[in-house]
């Protein structure tokens, strides 16, 4: 889901987080709202233009009674929170979908309920019975619903194999789209399949089938900056979740702790990946900065240099994520760094100090829903880095429902130099306190100042 961020394009620095939030939202929109560029209903003639018409229409016919629109509604049914798709995976009414489609119901029990809408328009109440939030999967139980479940495909696909994605973009109807399997996503912690197809908002949780009708993946995300770059959760992960022993009538607190566990595992995976290996070092001015941390991070390409009003700024931002929905458009499992090296061109020391100070910014809260997030608490001190001193501020806030998970925002600005300075930011979403400390320490100790 992280990939909505433009990887090759530098972001304006001050907008890094804002732009992130926007980027993340556009991805969550895959589940939550409708982006309606995809309007081809399966029965439409436009599909006929496609070479795979016979396959596609046959696939849709066979899938018809076994795919659902999954809707999260307020308890009184007055307002719709999110919609996605789902499909039948057991004879006794087990429906698979994405965790992010139903996350608000689990995270705010009592506020929302979930229902499935069949292709014939019938609304069926469903319960959430199992969650794997790290893989973005959930199982729903619709009592009384029977049918032939989709079979999960075990043998791996080859790059270039055809596949069909099914789902229901809200308000448009059930659709089928043809695409190409392109292997596992590279440089990613999620382990998603890369599936080249126009997967759209509301199709999250729908199945991706091979022509024989077996499910090889579950629609999960798309790149908002690319054309038809879609992502699927591999079917093996769903098989594992179905096979997982345990009750099928989970209580709200059990579900919540399952969801939380996935997030804990996810942030542990990111942390281990980043702390476990030496980052590549990029030299900007007198600073050696760690970039491309871990195995799955992306940076904004090269550093870019801006000159204005007597000072020059070079910046680089990097991102490593394993995003998991934490409800209310909030994602956890995000690690982001941002460096800005500011050097004096014609400014006098007073003005340079003022510019540097401006770049450091303030502790203004960067949004976040008060219902799920506490307020930031900060501490500030002068910290000795390799080669110099910096003023460092670390702010953290808790997730109300998700015990032990926190957001952290660390900022630093180098001091005691009048002609060059570094402003650094480390943003963590949904990490445990101990991992925040590990990553913050890794961050502070990786920066080196050579004079």
């Amino acid at each position: 889901m992280l990939d909505s961020e433009k990887a090759g394009e530098p972001l304006p620095h001050s907008q890094f987080l804002v732009s992130w939030t926007r980027g993340l939202r556009s991805v969550l929109i895959v589940a939550a709202l409708v982006a309606s560029s995809f309007s081809t209903a399966a029965s439409d003639d436009s599909v006929a233009a496609n070479k795979g018409i016979e396959n596609a229409s046959r696939i849709f016919e066979t899938a018809k009674g076994r795919i659902y629109q999954i809707r999260t509604l307020t308890q009184d049914g007055a307002a719709e929170n999110s919609t996605g798709s789902g499909f039948l995976v057991s004879q006794d009414g087990l429906i698979a979908t994405n965790w992010h489609v139903i996350s608000s119901m689990v995270l705010e029990p009592g506020t929302y309920r979930v229902e499935a809408v069949r292709t014939d328009g019938l609304h069926i109440p469903v319960r959430v019975v199992a969650i794997d939030s790290m893989s973005d999967l959930a199982l729903l139980k619709a009592s009384g619903e029977t049918g032939t479940p989709f079979a999960l495909r075990r043998p791996p696909l080859a790059k270039g194999d055809k596949g069909f994605s099914l789902g229901n973009p809200k308000g448009i109807g059930f659709t089928v789209v043809e695409g190409t399997f392109n292997g596992a996503e590279e440089k990613s912690l999620t382990g998603h399949y890369h599936f080249t197809a126009p997967i759209n908002a509301g199709m999250s949780g729908g199945p991706a089938l091979v022509s024989s009708g077996e499910v090889f993946g579950i629609n999960v995300a798309r790149r908002s900056d690319g054309d038809s770059i879609g992502f699927l959760v591999p079917a093996e992960k769903l098989a594992a979740l179905i096979a997982k022993p345990g009750k099928r009538n989970a209580a709200p607190d059990v579900l919540l702790s399952e969801a939380r566990q996935g997030m804990i595992d996810g942030q542990e995976k990111i942390t281990t990946d980043i702390v476990g290996q030496l980052p590549r070092v990029q030299q900007i001015g007198p600073f050696s900065l760690p970039v491309e941390p871990g195995s799955a991070s992306r940076c904004n390409g090269s550093s870019n240099r801006e000159e204005e009003d007597g000072y020059a700024m070079e910046s680089i931002s990097c991102l490593a994520t394993l995003p998991i929905s934490a409800g209310r458009k909030q994602l956890v499992g995000i690690f982001a760094t941002d460096y800005r090296v500011i050097s004096k061109l014609g400014l006098d020391p007073v003005r340079f100090a003022a510019r540097l100070s401006d770049q450091f910014g303030s502790d203004k809260d960067d949004g976040g829903d008060r219902k799920i997030l506490g307020l930031y608490e900060c501490r500030t001190s002068f910290v000795t880095l390799k080669g110099g001193t910096a003023r460092v501020s670390l702010c953290t806030r808790h997730y109300r429902q998700l015990d032990g998970l926190m957001d952290a925002h660390l900022r630093l600005v180098t001091v005691d130099s009048s002609d060059v300075g570094l402003v650094g930011e480390l943003t963590l979403r949904g990490f445990t306190e101990s991992n925040i400390k590990r990553l913050a320490r890794w961050y502070l100790e990786s920066i080196e100042w050579k004079r």
Partner: protein, 305 residues
């Protein structure tokens, strides 16, 4: 009946309580009913003083053998003996009573031409203050701003502050009209612009002093708050003095001034944490004066634990 003299009976603070017209001369002033002008004052004799007009425009006063006599405050507090000449408009103290005696053709004060709405001198003062205050704010912007956009920023700053002072003065002017004491726009404008000027200079001086004595980091917020509060309170007090007539309004001005003086530093004290994080960072080496402390950082490990 022809009025021969007017006697003003004065209050404790010299204000006029009432006026008596006298149509006969001489008159006896005292405590008894036989006196022409009787006061309920136990320090007076029944027949205390004889008041008569003299040949010129004044009066003569003659003590009629009272216990306490009388005095003329303008000539000191000593008791006046026998017959004394006074001028019209002089105050006399007898017992605990004060009176002032006028000729009927005199006036309370000379009539003067009202120039308050046409006087241009007020405008000159006002414009000078406005230019100084807005110019100072623009200068500070010029010092802070960099690059080609600087001149635009400076002009905007100038216009902003000029407009703010005009608006502020206008509000006070309207307030003063509704308070039945018409003060001029320029009077309020002068107070407004000079307050802005004084506040800015005060804060600038304070910050410079704090910087030089290496106290900028720790005490900057609190001291700024106190100076700012005091300057604003002074400004409000000066405005209120222009519009107030009664002690009630003076009380209001004082309480307002005190409140503002206390609230602003309190606010800044509470904001101190924020200022710590957002203010100027450590002082760069080139700006550091010889006696300034060098910040020693802690290790990342210490910071995180």
């Amino acid at each position: 009946m022809e009025t021969l003299a007017v006697v003003e009976i004065l209050g404790r603070n010299g204000e006029t309580l009432r006026r008596e017209r006298l149509s006969t001369m001489p008159v006896v002033i005292g405590r008894g009913f036989e006196a022409d002008l009787a006061f309920d004052d136990p320090y007076l004799a029944a027949r205390h003083l004889l008041l008569d007009a003299d040949e010129e425009s004044g009066f003569t006063l003659t003590d009629l053998g009272s216990l306490n006599g009388f005095s003329i405050p303008a000539r000191g507090n000593q008791r006046q003996e026998a017959t004394v000449h006074i001028n019209a408009g002089d105050a006399i103290r007898l017992g605990h009573t004060q009176i002032r005696i006028w000729r009927p053709d005199s006036a309370v004060a000379p009539e003067i031409l009202d120039k308050s709405t046409t006087d241009t001198r007020g405008w000159i003062t006002f414009c000078v203050w406005l230019l100084m205050a807005s110019g100072l704010m623009s200068l500070l912007t010029w010092v802070d701003a960099t690059g080609p956009g600087r001149y635009g920023a400076v002009s905007l700053e100038f216009l902003t502050w000029a407009a703010a002072v005009l608006l502020w003065s206008g509000l006070w002017w309207v307030a003063s009209r509704s308070a039945h004491r018409v003060t001029t726009f320029t009077a309020h404008g002068t107070v407004g612009a000079s307050t802005l000027f004084i506040t800015t200079v005060g804060l600038f001086t304070l910050n410079t002093a704090l910087f030089v004595f290496d106290l900028y980091q720790s005490n900057h917020g609190v001291w700024s708050g106190i100076v700012l509060g005091a300057c604003i309170a002074l400004g409000v007090y000066r405005h209120l003095r222009l519009v107030s007539r009664k002690s009630r309004q003076a009380m209001l001005s004082v309480s307002l001034a005190v409140a503002v003086t206390l609230i602003v530093p309190l606010h800044y004290t509470l904001k101190q944490n924020d200022l710590d994080k957002t203010g100027l960072m450590d002082i760069p080496s080139q700006l550091r004066l010889p006696w300034m402390r060098v910040v020693n950082g802690i290790s990342p490990e210490e910071f995180l634990n």
